[in-house]
Amino acid sequence: MYDVVIIGAGVTGCAVARYLARYEVNACVLERGSDVCTGTSKANSAIVHAGYDAENGSLMAKYNVEGSLMMEPLSKELDFAYDRCGSLVVCLSEEDLPKLWDLYRNGVANGVEDLRVIGRTELKDLEPNVSDNAVAALWAPTGAIVCPFGLTIALAENAYTNGVEFRLNTEVLEVRRTENGYVIETNQGTVEAKAVVNAAGVYADVIHNMVSEEKMTIVPRKGEYMLLDHAAEGYVRHTVFQLPGKFGKGVLVSPTVHGNVIVGPTALDIEDKEGVNTTAAGLQDVTEKSGLAMKDIPLRQVITSFAGLRAHEARHEFILGECADAPGFFDCAGIESPGLSSAPAIGLHMSDLIAEKLGLSRNEDFKGERKGILDAKTLSPEERNELIKREPAYGQIICRCESVSEGEILDAIRRPLGARDLDAVKRRVRAGMGRCQAGFCSPRVIEILARELNVPESEITKTGGGSKYIVGTAKDRI
């Protein structure tokens, strides 16, 4: 019997797990994917919102502002990529100026620091490629960008090394309330827990409705993106949003922490909770809207497109806390944007709430620090040579687009909660994220995975389940 079972290893579940590990607790995370961070947490804008957008007085506002303040120190403690590049909300017409001021006032009320409305000239200086139609902008220097995989994986690894168990490829099929807690049926057997945390993203309604009579509906709201090559680095310096108004609702254009440029998202309610496909109409929409706030976007440099699903609940508000008619069942539902930004704050408060409920005591051995995967590119030539002398694998480049060496890939596989498939390697060290999109390095990475995991190469998948990369050997059918 676990004290706590957390359903879902997205950024929310992993944050709850990590902060919960500050207590003496017997906890386990159940995740149906083959890795942590395979749901919405892997496909979003990767913005740490400053917190001016969410409606004053809402949970979204509270957690966003707090999470945003926690993110920078956390990025040092857990060693993930974070960059406070600042954000701009660009206003494209005089008519819309009152809305810009409303946004400013909402931000100030939310407690966002250093907000300012700036005019054309200052805006041009900050962001030279901004549209010529821009009349003013809200400037939020505390806005930031983060690596969403880096954040989620760091939280998970740190939770794991502090004793939280993770069961991957484990899908929750049923949750039942019992005398002293909950029975959870999964495709890998039954587990029991005194408390359950529902952090199942777009499936949070399904899980919630298993135990509560107050039914919940989460609608997947799709957002499609295009990602541009490093060659476009420098085109945009801040996260640039467009103030919804006369020209409609735009898309954001932002640098990523890895030097790419991201453009998107669209917003379309769909029915299929697995509908992460991109569509011709969606990509067309991104293309058209991207030019509103920024000019001459180098869309020729697109290297990939993708889609993510917002876990939208009708009230557009986070649903956080113990379920009224299911004691010991804690919802983290409706976690749409700014869910990534809010994750540290959600983790902190939810874990405290659960600890109080279960009467958990502090874990004196908790170690909050975690060292990420060494990125050899950041070393000086001398340091790099020292490293290669000790570990020659760091001298062998596997992914040529992103200059990822075998040493880094081995680290990704061997570390706690290590990578087991191609996409898991990719999310940890970026092998395959470059302009050739894994054409060259996939066979090499498969070789390394197979060797390390001691399985045949034909067993290695792209992203778990039936996503086999190779279907057999040549000539086996003839």
Binding site: V276, N277, T279, A280, L283, S403, G439, G464, S467, R477
Partner: protein, 421 residues
């Protein structure tokens, strides 16, 4: 720091031929750096025949063709390092590379020859909508899997793009027991060689659908099917023409791009048309002492021409090191194109530095029948060659003779014009 007179980046057919020719020109201080575990480049995975008809007057497979050049390099005891990734080239020709044994090291080069080849365009670059399951490969990746590693990437295949590699792989996958259902090509003509369409598709009854593209990819884990549709003259899918094909594999053969990330670190100017360096008649880039040849310069269909071009780069690099080529480059004239060609390699010429003969290569932008390819010097036609048919998929050439330029000592305008016959 180590020093070599010539450092060659890439040990494919271009790098090998350049090294061998530089040696024959008398150069002995040569180093080839190759990131793969063997020499030969892309040819190692091209196990079909049809290589070397021009060079050796016999039909070789890719690896056989490569072996002839590898043997020359070995015989001449030219130095090479394998598993060595070149990471940076400075404008001052300091080449920085890395491998397991030497770590990160730098080499000072008298001349550098870029011979890094090309890479395939990916799905992302085309922005094909749909899911992102396993089972989508570039044709070259599939070729490597099947031919070098003995793995089958899939059983039921749709191919997008009729570039040569896609055509070759249609046949190859069929021979390995897979079912190739269709080859879809966006353009109204094929991007591949005529002989490959006949020998790789027609002979196996594989349909080629021109003016068609993939509009959707199905499958959550592994590809389960793709939808293709006809496109209009603006390459936009025509509603109502969609056709669904169930398959577990989508191969992409949608174009090759010269691999010039390194060239950029050296500040080499690139052509917007070819994505390769702009070079003069020496095959020297905008950065003095840095030469380019093979697929990194412009994408070739036939390796014989790669070898020929690379040998010229090798000889010229050796002459550059010996200081035999006058440094002044202010007299270079651009080669203008009219009536069809999209670019030329080389793209500039200094008439005073021309060899006896110079082969100028180019591609046209669309299919053209019954034309003359002409060379004009200051408006006067000095050369005219008849072509039955020209297509974007086949590289064209025109041989400039020194004598033509000697008759026009003060030439200011060089134009290649394609005219109706």
């Amino acid at each position: 720091m180590e020093k070599y007179n010539i450092v060659i980046i890439g040990g494919g057919p271009a790098g090998l031929a350049a090294a061998s020719a530089a040696y024959d020109e008398g150069e002995r201080s040569i180093l080839i750096l190759e990131r793969d575990k063997e020499l030969g480049g892309i040819l190692n995975q091209c196990i079909h025949n049809g290589f070397g008809l021009h060079t050796f007057k016999e039909e070789l497979t890719g690896p056989e063709y490569a072996k002839r050049f590898i043997d020359q390099v070995v015989e001449k005891k030219i130095e090479y390092r394998l598993n060595t990734m070149v990471m940076d080239i400075s404008p001052e020709r300091v080449v920085t590379a890395m491998n397991r044994t030497d770590g990160l090291f730098s080499v000072e080069a008298g001349a550098v020859i870029l011979a890094m080849g090309c890479r395939e365009r990916s799905r992302g670059a085309l922005n094909i909508p749909g899911y992102r399951p396993a089972g989508i490969y570039s044709a070259g990746t599939a070729q490597r899997l099947v031919n070098m590693e003995g793995y089958m990437p899939g059983r039921e295949v749709v191919i997008l793009g009729s570039g040569d590699i896609g055509l070759i792989m249609a046949r190859r996958m069929t021979l390995e027991g897979a079912k190739v259902k269709v080859v879809a090509e966006l353009m109204p003509y094929s991007g591949g060689l005529k002989r490959n369409i006949v020998q790789c598709l027609d002979d196996y009854g594989i349909p080629l659908k021109l003016s068609h593209t993939v509009v959707d990819i199905e499958g959550r884990e592994r590809v389960t099917g793709v939808t293709i549709a006809e496109v209009d003259s603006h390459n936009k899918p025509i509603p109502g023409t969609e056709e669904y094909y169930s398959c577990d594999t989508l191969l992409l053969s949608v174009g090759l791009l010269p691999e010039n990330e390194l060239s950029k670190t050296a500040g080499v100017e690139l052509s917007r048309v070819t994505s390769g360096p702009t070079v003069n008649e020496q095959l020297e880039t905008s950065v003095p002492g840095i030469f380019a040849c093979g697929n990194v310069l412009h994408v070739h269909d036939l390796v014989d021409y790669v070898s020929e071009e690379a040998a010229m780069a090798g000889r010229n690099a050796a002459k550059f090191v010996r200081g035999e080529v006058p440094e002044d480059r202010s007299k270079e004239l651009p080669i203008h194109v009219e009536g069809g060609p999209r670019y030329t390699v080389p793209c500039t010429i200094d008439p005073a530095k021309l060899p006896e003969q110079l082969t100028v290569r180019f591609r046209v932008g669309s299919v053209m029948k019954d034309r003359y390819v002409c060379l004009y010097l200051d408006g006067e036609r000095v050369l005219r060659r008849r072509r039955q048919i020209m297509a974007p998929g086949e590289m064209e050439e025109l041989v400039f003779k020194k004598s033509m330029f000697e008759a026009h000592p003060d030439v200011r305008d060089i134009t290649i014009r394609v005219e109706e016959a």
